[in-house]
């Protein structure tokens, strides 16, 4: 993805060797792709699409739409579900993880329950969610919630658990009460770890959403993918895979930007 942005500027003054190699790799792969599909036809269209097919499929999805909606509608549907599930999960998960890390009794209380639930992979919740809530948005939000919940709890808990003892003592001997201790010592010291948790949560949200939409959905990028699979439309399969990856990457970049603006004190 980074390659695409450098590609926009042909007049780069200086290009590192590794970046050049990277560009060459991408160019080679694209050339090979052309060679194997359009030029020689070694790989048939039912195995892998040719670049023109890929572009045509993309144009079709973007303009007239596919599987019940245009690219924008499908992407917005998926984005909306991820946003709701992810937000709900961290709104509950981060405070819970914080309490578990802060208070030994809360830790003792919740940890065993976690040990029971944690080994169940988020994807394994999909059938249960469908039995409970059907194929609509609610079941998707539920599985995203389950998927994103665990990493946000675990990492917040670990981060708070490992807050540096001396900083807590420094705050105490300089008269900080519980409120300031939490706001000005625990939270900032645990922040990098909390963000690690959020990144993992976001990743899990996308993985789970795609799976849930593949299992059954009326709209969304996973629905595009499963329809394309049923139609054996390899070009559309590839288009939806790329779109899902790009959507995931965009949300990760937004999160990274939020992290950078929150954690300004770190060495770079």
């Amino acid at each position: 993805m980074a390659e695409a942005t450098t590609g926009r500027r042909p007049g780069v003054r200086f290009m590192s060797r590794s970046r050049l190699t990277g560009l060459l790799t991408v160019a080679t792969v694209i050339a090979l792709w052309f060679l194997l599909t359009s030029v020689t036809g070694l790989v048939g269209e039912f195995r892998f699409p040719s670049p023109p097919d890929f572009l045509a499929a993309f144009a079709r999805l973007a303009s007239t739409g596919y599987a019940g909606g245009t690219l924008l509608e499908q992407a917005l549907q998926s984005l909306r579900l991820v946003a709701i599930g992810f937000a709900a999960a961290i709104a509950v998960g981060v405070p819970l993880g914080f309490v578990m890390g802060y208070d030994r009794r809360a830790e003792a209380f919740f940890n065993p329950i976690f040990l029971v639930l944690r080994p169940i992979p988020p994807l394994a919740w999909i059938p249960l969610a469908i039995v409970w809530l059907g194929l609509g948005d609610a079941s998707k939000v539920l599985v995203i919630f389950v998927a994103a919940f665990v990493p946000s709890v675990i990492n917040t808990y670990t981060g708070v658990r490992n807050v540096q003892r001396t900083l807590i003592e420094a705050a105490l001997v300089h008269g900080a009460g519980q409120g300031r201790l939490i706001r000005e010592v625990y939270l900032p010291d645990a922040a990098p770890m909390i963000f690690t948790g959020l990144r993992l949560s976001l990743q899990a949200s996308w993985t789970t959403l795609v799976a849930a939409e593949l299992v059954g959905a009326f709209l969304g990028m996973g629905r595009v993918l499963s329809t394309a699979y049923r139609d054996i439309n390899t070009a559309m399969i590839l288009v939806s895979m790329v779109c899902i990856a790009v959507l995931g990457a965009i949300t990760m970049m937004i999160l990274a930007r939020v992290e950078r603006s929150v954690i300004r004190w770190r060495k770079t």
């Binding site: 993805m1 980074a2 390659e3 060797r17 590794s18 190699t21 990277g22 560009l23 790799t25 991408v26 792969v29 039912f46 195995r47 892998f48 030994r104 009794r105 809360a106 003792a108 209380f109 919740f110 940890n111 065993p112 329950i113 029971v116 639930l117 080994p119 169940i120 992979p121 988020p122 994807l123 394994a124 919740w125 999909i126 059938p127 249960l128 469908i130 039995v131 409970w132 996308w206 993985t207 795609v210 799976a211 593949l214 299992v215 993918l225 499963s226 394309a228 699979y229 054996i232 390899t234 399969i237 939806s240 895979m241 899902i244 990856a245 790009v246 995931g248 990457a249 990760m252």
Partner: protein
Amino acid sequence: MSERLPLWAWSAAGLILFFGLWQGAVSSGAVSSFVLPSPLEVLERMWKLMNQPFAGALLHEHLLSSFGRFMGGFLLAAVIGVPLGLMMGRFRLLEDIVTPLFEGYRYVAPLAWVPFAALWFGTGIGGPIMVIFTGAFAPCVINAYRGARLVDSYLIEAAQTHGASEFRVAREVLLPGALPSIVAGLRIAAGLGWQSLIGAELIVVSSGIGFVMVQGQSNLSPSTVMTAMAVIGLTGLLIDIGLRQIESRVRAKWEGR
């Protein structure tokens, strides 16, 4: 007063409350057992599935076929991913070539590979193995790469000045030096691979523990679904415990040098 309560009592209270509320909600009739079967009903169902074929096989037979697929995909990911990661850590050129492709691949959710996997390798064994592979591959590569980068360059130079070939450097310096990181990566890979398999079985496969869930779902039998969830969770836990054993052994050996 609560300060006096020992911590294990809090743990016990948590578990009792969790299972108690669950069982109580169903027993009291507040929640229909058709929606949420009680823990006891799930155990009962598990017993039945182990003695009476469901969706074509007994529960442990389904589990075995899932586990076989898992091992296939996981080993493939390890056998390809670890050497690739080590070489990327050793040779700058390879790192530069692979990195852009790898970055792109990493953002594709493993389950999004299911259609291609099914088209290329079928829905029997090949397809699911490819899905597990795509899930487990990234951590194998990343951790081997990081581990290799952490190996002291003096050690590599020392090996070279003593006339070691590139192959011996890889086998006798890079691999052991990176081993703790590699084993940690394998643990992550196993978790992701196991979960990808379940996803694949939900979508395209017609046997295995994930298929049991799908059947339970379409029969509207939450007790079957939850039985499968328990079995999946337990198996994942056992895989993780096994790898954790290996990890702690490697660490003990390396750090207690």
